[in-house]
Symmetry: C2
């Protein structure tokens, strides 16, 4: 069996598990989000602030992917929602079977939105469908405005790109218009939001978008 055969077999097994996750949440209309970014772009912080704004009226839960440490799930539980950590033990992305295992172990109550935070990596998670409704790519302004063209796969596939840490814009070189241009080339239908968890800028738009996507999924069911 060649290297390519092995990769294809792994991806086929992942697709089967992803289809099961998707079927499970199609029935009850839970919106499932797969958040992907570099380490330190602010995924966990975005989720903490999302819980603060939406936790009172939507039923949220989180699955947190990491190489090591339970830190992120602890942070989401402290924010007030059920959360399950997946430790990949070195692997550079989550896969759908790990998500199935986490869902079985966590036994979350009925949900409106399931938030899956992938391992911090702008490359490997892109290839693995977790059964989500959409991928969300995060890009912090501290990372530089050349990243969409340098990491085109994720910015092509993410229905939403969230620029984070815009409170740092006065202190870094980052041209939001350049990022919009790159994302519009890679993904003409993609949405782009500019946010700061610290100042709150863009957080109402982000939370509004989640509610809009949830309503659209539920409307499509009927």
């Amino acid at each position: 069996m060649t290297e390519i055969d092995v990769k294809q077999r792994i991806l086929a097994a992942n697709e089967a598990a992803a289809a099961e996750v998707r079927a499970r949440y199609r029935g009850d209309g839970t919106l499932v989000i797969n958040l992907i970014s570099s380490p330190g772009s602010g995924k966990t912080t975005l989720l903490e602030k999302t819980v603060a704004r939406l936790g009172g009226r939507l039923r949220l839960a989180a699955i947190e992917g990491d190489i090591a440490t339970e830190r992120d799930a602890d942070r989401l539980r402290a924010a007030g929602i059920p959360a399950r950590q997946i430790l990949t033990g070195g692997a550079c992305h989550l896969d759908a079977r790990q998500v199935q295992g986490a869902l079985a172990d966590a036994a979350f109550p009925p949900l409106d939105v399931l938030l899956i935070e992938n391992v911090g990596n702008l490359i490997c998670p892109t290839s693995y469908d977790l059964g989500e409704d959409l991928k969300v790519a995060l890009l912090s302004v501290a990372e530089g405005d050349d990243k969409p063209f340098k990491y085109p796969a994720i910015f092509s596939r993410a229905r939403v790109t969230v620029i984070t840490k815009v409170d740092l814009l006065p202190h870094v070189e980052f041209d939001i218009a350049a990022v919009k241009e790159q994302v519009s080339v890679l993904n003409p239908a993609g949405r782009l939001l500019a946010t700061s968890a610290r100042s709150g800028e863009g957080m109402a738009e982000w939370c509004g978008l989640l509610e809009e996507l949830l309503a659209a999924k539920r409307a499509a069911r009927t």
Copy 2:
């Protein structure tokens, strides 16, 4: 052949190529550095500033790894040194055979220091020896001070950790002492530097360390 067999075969082939790169540069005493970090931690900028400080007295060249775009090699050539881009076409790390191919194509003149900038990824590059003398891990203060324990493999193996963008410290939550503590647990012999390419802080120490390592390699040869 199982998935594990394939992975082991790939790593064995990589080790063989890495040994050839290492032997090539043992003979002429060229110091070879493998820089690893998240996307946007400032690897290319650190190299540009290194060229500005050391390019006058050391013979430098760069191999730049990326998924897509020739941008980084262009930046290093503009800084004044020969540079060769390796486009991985989606792969999440460089491997030693790609480095061999780039060296054959580039036909660099005799060098003092070969700077290899890996693909922006804090996970996958860690497993692939490129024939370097040492790995250098970069961590920007915008990424957060919890990263060494979250990505322990690279911070265990990097002989040097360079904290970058310390000019942003007044604007972010980042405790350098916490990072030092984590790195000292993972890698008791590791060196740690705090730098800002923008303000120049720590750049003399970084360049001095490269010269010290180069001198040590040459002294060991004799």
